[in-house]
Symmetry: C2
Subunit: 120 residues, 2 copies
């Protein structure tokens, strides 16, 4: 996949030089996978709602579930995914776990999405 040589598959219509240039300038495979992974995680309504709500205040799991009117288990599963992608962080206080956005960088990415839909 990350071969930069011009081993272009033979088709009638291809423009070999263009393809060769395009291939040599491509993003590395692992970068592509990482970007796609982050966007995929952001590509779910429940997770967007979690990030939206957490962008305004820290909340415990139970409050998140009540706010989004969803089951505690569903929220907890999604928080695990968001945690794994370093999009949210949490602190324990007794039995409760209080979640918030991991850093402002997440907020920027999230708001960029907002800007995009308003732009269309």
């Amino acid at each position: 996949m990350q071969n930069t040589e011009c081993d272009v598959c033979e088709q009638h219509c291809t423009h070999p030089q263009t393809v060769c240039q395009a291939r040599s300038a491509m993003l590395a495979e692992d970068s592509v996978m990482k970007i796609a992974e982050i966007f995929k995680i952001l590509g779910d309504p429940t997770r967007i709602k979690v990030l939206d709500v957490l962008s305004k205040r820290e909340l415990c799991v139970c409050d998140l579930a009540a706010t989004l009117q969803m089951g505690q288990s569903a929220i907890s599963h999604q928080l695990r995914i968001l945690r794994g992608a370093r999009l949210v962080k949490y602190r324990r206080e007794g039995k409760e776990a209080w979640y918030s956005l991991d850093d402002e960088h997440v907020l920027t990415l999230f708001q960029q999405g907002l800007e995009h839909i308003n732009h269309i």
Copy 2:
């Protein structure tokens, strides 16, 4: 879902006032869906590769397939999705269809993803 009143489901741990405030500040359901939809479309390696390559030069479908070393049909299906989300545009020249990014706004969103993975 977009009810702003305090009809919080009864659970022991919830903090009603917090939940009430959180609920009243939530993004509208259709905004959530739109943001999630855009991010979901960006959350696929093939589509990321297409956008990456198109961010550098205009390409026809056949060249895209050769560059990404994938079938013409697969690329065409993905281009349809990207077109539907106004992420790419195209022009016809005889038998060929030349694709490019729809506007700079798409590039910004894409590069924001790049920045994010480099930041982690």
